[in-house]
């Protein structure tokens, strides 16, 4: 995507942050509205409420009834969606540029006039239970969930974004309305527009749509910092199938810590760069990488992946391994940790550093090729920190030294900083018995 000029940042009187980036590469725009509320801003009893609320915001507002909202964007040739994760809730529309005003009106409505209709609320509960159970069908997402809950004892990163099932079954409409009123206020939101538009005209439209929304007060973040981990933790699961999985989670720096950049380079050296987009974090491990050689070329594993993305509070540097047939999980564990310890023992070579930085740069270019991606990245980082993180990212990466990479590996790959998850097929090969029939 060809970006014209730099990002413009504005703040409306009511506190709404607005980021604009003109890119006249195609006659389209992408509009994103972000809220600084994710599952970790919830509390036990209300887990999953942010995600459920996001669903409700597709089911009608005062001005856009459910009927009207249905295919509102598609019939103008656009697509739209939303997601909720640990630090954020967001909605977007990417559509032909002439419909920018519609997308703005829709997001302004969502900010203040969501209906959260009682009948719709009830029918969405079972949709979410279905989403939750669909995830439970997958052994690796089950294991993920267990590992997360073992790493975080106090912080809200502990529970899944979709929520705990008993909470999803219990949450009331009144609680959701309260949650909505608390968090959906202009001073807790960021609006991002990227694409083919005139910035001054867009600002006029944005003021018209959002300017009159009362500012409200951004809620105080309700998060318990996680105390340092004192020892290795381990979770073991048994279940269906014939495949074993090994997960290792290391507590990792937040977006605001200087370690972020060396860690991104460390991951690129070790496994290959995936960029810093939530949408492409699970790229394949590169074949020339030490991690691939150690785990796949040796045939200890059939798949190995690593995952790090900056978050608001310290989250995870996460590894997943699918064990090869008949390979004991203990062997997977030994191999993986042996390889990680090497990163802590020796600096990457100059060539490894250059290669890692080349990959990060290329991934950044490939991932910035659409208005939707760029708008997402600006909003993602503004919500957890500030959008300049994205703008200055490559320069900061360029400055990382080999010694910083080694030090970061040493700090992160400590035994006391890791939580292990193991999934083994149940011994009878059929998983635990399920019900009476």
């Amino acid at each position: 995507m060809k970006r014209n000029g730099s990002v413009e940042s504005h703040r409306l009187r009511n506190g709404l942050r607005v980021l604009l980036q003109v890119a006249k590469s195609a006659p389209i725009v992408s509009v994103w509205c972000w809220y600084k509320v994710g599952s970790s801003d919830e509390r036990p009893g209300l887990t999953g409420i942010s995600h459920w609320l996001e669903h409700m915001n597709f089911k009608g507002t005062k001005r856009f009834s459910k009927e009207k909202m249905k295919s509102l964007i598609e019939r103008r040739g656009g697509y739209w969606n939303g997601y909720t994760w640990i630090d954020q809730t967001t909605y977007f529309e990417t559509l032909p540029a002439e419909h920018l005003g519609l997308a703005l009106d829709l997001e302004a409505e969502r900010m203040q006039n969501s209906l959260i209709d009682g009948a719709e609320f009830a029918s969405e509960r079972t949709v979410i239970l279905s989403e939750l159970r669909g995830g439970e069908n997958n052994p690796e997402s089950l294991l993920d969930r267990e590992v997360n809950a073992a790493v975080f004892q106090a912080h809200g990163y502990r529970w899944p974004t979709v929520g705990w099932e008993p909470d999803v079954k219990r949450i009331t409409r009144e609680e959701m309305i309260r949650h909505y009123r608390t968090h959906y206020v202009p001073s807790n939101a960021t609006l991002v527009v990227v694409g083919d538009f005139n910035a001054a005209a867009a600002m006029r439209k944005i003021r018209a749509a959002f300017g009159a929304i009362p500012s409200g007060e951004a809620p105080e973040p309700l998060r318990t910092p996680e105390a340092p981990q004192r020892g290795e933790r381990r979770v073991e699961l048994e279940g269906g199938g014939t495949t074993s999985y090994f997960h290792a989670a290391f507590r990792a720096p937040s977006v605001r810590e200087p370690d972020v950049y060396p860690l991104v380079v460390l991951d690129a050296v070790l496994a290959g760069a995936k960029g810093i987009s939530l949408w492409s974090f699970d790229g394949e491990t590169r074949k020339s990488s030490p991690l691939y050689r150690e785990m796949i070329d040796s045939r200890v594993a059939t798949s190995v992946r690593s995952f790090y993305i900056p978050t608001k509070d310290p989250f995870l540097y996460y590894f997943t391994v699918t064990a090869g047939a008949d390979v004991p999980v203990e062997k997977v564990e030994r191999r993986l940790f042996r390889r990680l310890e090497k990163c802590a023992a020796a600096r990457p070579s100059a060539r490894e550093m250059r290669k890692a930085k080349n990959q990060i740069r290329a991934a950044h270019v490939f991932q910035s090729d659409s208005v939707t991606e760029v708008a997402h990245q600006l909003g993602y980082f503004e919500t957890i920190d500030e959008y300049r993180f994205f703008e200055t990212f490559l320069d900061k990466i360029e400055q990382v030294s080999a010694e910083q990479v080694r030090e970061t590996a040493e700090r992160i790959f400590r035994r006391n900083n890791r939580t292990i998850g193991v999934y083994r097929p149940a011994r009878n090969g059929r998983g635990r018995r399920h019900g009476a029939r």
Binding site: I28, K59, V127, G240, G241, A362, R432, R433, H434
Partner: protein
């Protein structure tokens, strides 16, 4: 855009798109899993997966080191009819990647050790699929619809047994017979000088020799379902069922293609899953995902409806799907529904054609099916001319609430649900 044809029969298309300093490449061969010999299912896939593991000039380690040092992203994929090499790279690296591709195509060495590694990975994937409700439901549906004799009924990814059987000589023979330049299509999109890129591609690929059919392989017709067939697979340790209900669909070049695209949108794709989404997700809250999809291809790919449903509600969900099938077969869609769907398909084209990858995929498709350079305009016209009567006719042709294939995988169903499902096939 420029287009050229090499003396060896390979076609090259280059389109300049200066939105970022990157280039996307797609190279398509008319070699796919339909060419797998019986008992060697998965051979086309395995062959393609080994291309990067070494050539006569470079070892696999040297190849991956080169790609990774550039930060390029490459890969190979195989479907029923074609093998696709894909690459994304910075603009200065196009030459190096094209040279690598031609080496991989002409002189791969298929090292025995790497073959064993790849086989281990493919078998691992198959074992994981066996524990995946969606995959189990879909594979069973495909078998019901096409049977074991039709190429669409055979597993392109192979089976544990067929992958185990593969030997290096199988790959060598497959490569000798099935990798040739005639009819192959190379598409390059990105920050390039079109003429120069065409020249470069021509000089790099001219040494590729060999002959074979210049067109995609023939795929026989498949008979529509003559009765309803139901398969239920109970799986340990699962919390929700995945269901797949389907029909034999149409070919890409079928005159009803554009009507089928609109029909699918109305039934189960437009917005949050079309009418099916409206009914099963929005009104009844039975599913997080429910949708329909078509796969018109060289042969008659399937028309499928898929959903994830709690075991107690599987019977109800299937009934609702069948009701919607009846409704779309019997009653004309409203003007509004038709117009909105067509508008979406037409007006969303700029979004699909925003990125290098999107443009490359479109151009390859156009060339692959011989749709002609004016296809973008014709596509709009064809969609515009689809009528409610067309949808009725095509729904009558493709869908039926009396004769279909249904496959369900997941936790055991409660007895009354299982009985109600089983009774459909009587």
């Amino acid at each position: 855009m420029v287009r050229g044809e090499l003396p060896n029969g390979m076609r090259v298309i280059v389109k300049r798109n200066r939105l970022s300093p990157a280039v996307a490449v797609r190279l398509c061969l008319h070699t796919g899993s339909v060419h797998d010999p019986a008992g060697r299912e998965g051979l086309a896939l395995t062959t393609s997966a080994l291309l990067e593991e070494g050539t006569r000039k470079r070892t696999g380690a040297e190849i991956s080191e080169m790609i990774d040092f550039l930060g390029a992203e490459t890969g190979a994929s195989v479907d029923k009819h074609s093998t696709l090499l894909l690459g994304s790279m910075m603009r200065g690296d196009l030459d190096a990647i094209l040279k690598l591709f031609v080496e991989m195509l002409i002189e791969p060495v298929f090292p025995a050790r790497d073959l064993e590694k790849v086989k281990g990975q493919l078998i691992g994937d198959l074992r994981e699929d066996e524990n995946d409700t969606r995959s189990v439901a879909m594979k069973a549906l495909q078998t019901i619809l096409y049977g074991r004799r039709h190429p669409y009924g055979r597993p392109g990814g192979g089976t544990v047994r067929s992958i185990r059987c593969l030997a290096r000589r199988d790959l060598v023979a497959f490569h000798n017979g099935r990798y040739y330049p005639r009819g192959a299509i190379l598409v390059i999109v990105g920050d390039v000088n079109e003429r120069e890129a065409l020249r470069k591609a021509t000089s790099v690929f001219r040494r590729w020799k060999g002959d074979g059919p210049a067109e995609p392989p023939d795929v026989p017709d498949a008979a529509p379902m003559k009765k309803t067939v139901v398969r239920v697979k109970a799986m340990a340790d699962k919390t929700q069922n995945d269901l797949a209900l389907g029909f034999v669909g149409i070919r890409r070049l079928d005159p009803d293609f554009h009507a089928a695209v609109v029909l699918n949108q109305v039934l189960g794709a437009f917005g949050l899953g079309g009418r099916l989404g409206g009914r099963i997700r929005e009104e009844e809250g039975l599913a997080y995902y429910v949708y329909s999809a078509i796969r018109p291809s060289v042969g008659p790919g399937p028309f499928v409806i898929r959903a994830g449903i709690h075991p107690d509600h599987v019977g109800r969900a299937v009934r609702l799907v069948l009701e919607e099938i009846d409704r779309i077969r019997e009653r004309r869609v409203s003007r509004r529904e038709l117009d909105e769907t067509k508008r979406y398909l037409i007006d969303s084209l700029p979004l699909r054609l925003e990125t290098n990858e999107g443009i490359a995929a479109f151009l390859l498709n156009e060339e692959y099916y011989g749709l002609g350079p004016g296809y973008l305009t014709r596509y709009r016209e064809e969609l515009t001319s689809v009528t409610a009567a067309d949808l009725l006719r095509v729904a009558g042709r493709l869908l039926s609430a009396e004769r279909f294939a249904l496959s369900v995988a997941g936790p055991p169903l409660p007895a009354p649900v299982e009985e109600s499902i089983a009774s459909l096939s009587v």
